[in-house]
Amino acid sequence: MARKILLITTDQQRYDTLGCNGGTIARTPVVDSLAASGIRYERAHPQSVVCMPSRSTILTGQHPTTHGVWMNGVPLPLDAPSVAALLNDAGYRTALIGKPHFQPMLDPFMRFIENALGDETVPTGGSHRGFEHLEFATHGPMGPLHYARWLAAQHPEAVGMFYRVLDSQLQVNADGGGDTAAPQVHVNQIERGWYHTDWVADRTISWLDSLRADDDWFCWMSFPDPHHPWDPPESEVGRINWRDVPLPAGYPEDRAEREAILDAKPRHWRMWYDGSLVSNYEAPARWVPATLTPDQVREVNARNAVECELIDEAIGRVLARVGERGWENDVDIIFTTDHGELQGDFGLLFKGPYHVDALMRLPLIWRPAPSASAQTSTVTAPVGLVDLAPTFCSIAGLAAPEWMQGASLPVNDEDAALRGFERVLTEWDSELFGVDVHLRTITRAGWVLTTYRRGTVHDGSEGELYDLADDPRQRNNRWDDPSCRGIRDDLTADLLANLPPARQPKLLLEAPV
């Protein structure tokens, strides 16, 4: 019998939303407890700051350039490599429960299998990307996924209670709600037990209950929250009074200071803030960040924290069932997310081509199976989501195949130094309706450097350079600072030397998201 693996992911969750990472708004005792008894990573980065590329990296163990999903809307090929398939071939029972998003969700033709499963939970042929059990959910009750079907069948009165994620033009909705009219905030009267967070936990428990005690298993439990819309069950919103929530440290309240910080960055930052450029689909096209108020930031953060608390409690229920099944000592638990959320930093919300900690610094916790007798630790070396798939192989006693580009996560900083965890890369390529933006970022030795390729509003000479020790909020762009020329040249050369190979031919954008 091998060690079992529970991969828990959330969607668009910041590093600082967990108590164990210094968060003070949400109470997250379950995940904090995993961190206390396991390994907590302080510098874990995604290889893309949007969902589809990042989730494809988790599954394939490859950078976006290599697996080919360069932006939301580019489907991961069905024959792409999959760590779940490796584990399944090795005898693991496998399940993906919650949000998948390896294929576009906006799919009226139902061309993509993730949308076309109907009520089936076992895919045709016995498995899909190595998963033999599939139950899908996304951020609301619309669409063809299992959660939407379940809610429509069991609680049809709740379907209309959610925020409408897309507007009548199928753009990300800019409508505001709550007390402050913040975008994507909404009062949702749904009963807590019907909300997708608890549904994901319920379905995970049901699948675990279907297994034999001696089965080896890999379960990816994928919560759609705390990604916007911020519409948690209203019964739970009273946990945190938004008026008591402090403004985040990353939010410069003084408008002149905020805009001066933006002006020191490549011009697409300020252009989006002012509403003169929309470069990607993931933020509401009709919302202008400059209109964001301090109270809206507070309310967004409060509701986000409520969603984080609900996730933490849902994880607690699943772990309790793991214990009841007698698996506690043999289960490795990994908690992370696909990317972060701006959540008020620099006066911005949502996500886009902005490679700063708000979007890149992720919560990552690995609680090895107690039977493995691992030591608790905190890892400060840079690691990436690209390292997850090799880690699963290591846990299962499998050799990581050559197509994986990461390495099994280090168990402490000494291990990281010995095995060469020096740098982590993140990339962005968007091409939408005549606007393209291209970023390549390296994080190494306490610095973050981003280079720009030629695009609609960039000539290719722009860049960002931040000293994480002196400037943890990345407010002071040192790209043009003569005293930093040496580190800039060194990091740029290192970035170019370590860029992953590109998939050929380039995959096409097939949908907005």
Binding site: G73, P104, L106, D107, P108, F109, M110, R111, A116, P144, S168, Q169, L170, Q171, M271, S276, L277, V278, Y281, A285, L432, F433, G434, V435, T456, L508, L509, E510, A511, P512
Partner: protein, 134 residues
Amino acid sequence: MTAPRASIRREVRIRSGADEIWEWVGNPSRLPEWWPGITACVVDGDSRTITMGSGLPMPEQLLTVDRLQRRFQYRITAPIFREHTSTIDVHDLGDGTTLVVYSVDADPSTMALVIGGAAGNALQELRSLVEGKS
């Protein structure tokens, strides 16, 4: 910087003559044969209604069916579109291959990508069907 109207273009080169390709593309009733995700299609004069895999109907108006230029154009008349024109051009490259270009212009822009993305997939299917047959 963000216009509501968008253009999406997809193309495919097929190892077959233009006349054969036109037999598929120029016949509005044959669309479900080569467009994955279209389950039915009813043509009545210059009106065509397709049914998508989600079950949603999509009403269309045929604008151009020009056998000599090998150009097919239609307009989607569903209310979500403020404006839409799709154009399929079939070009004989003179070397036994044919270039098929599918252009979608639409407002709202999101729908241009929804239709254009699926059209790209359909062109790949068309190539598989034609080249697999020959």
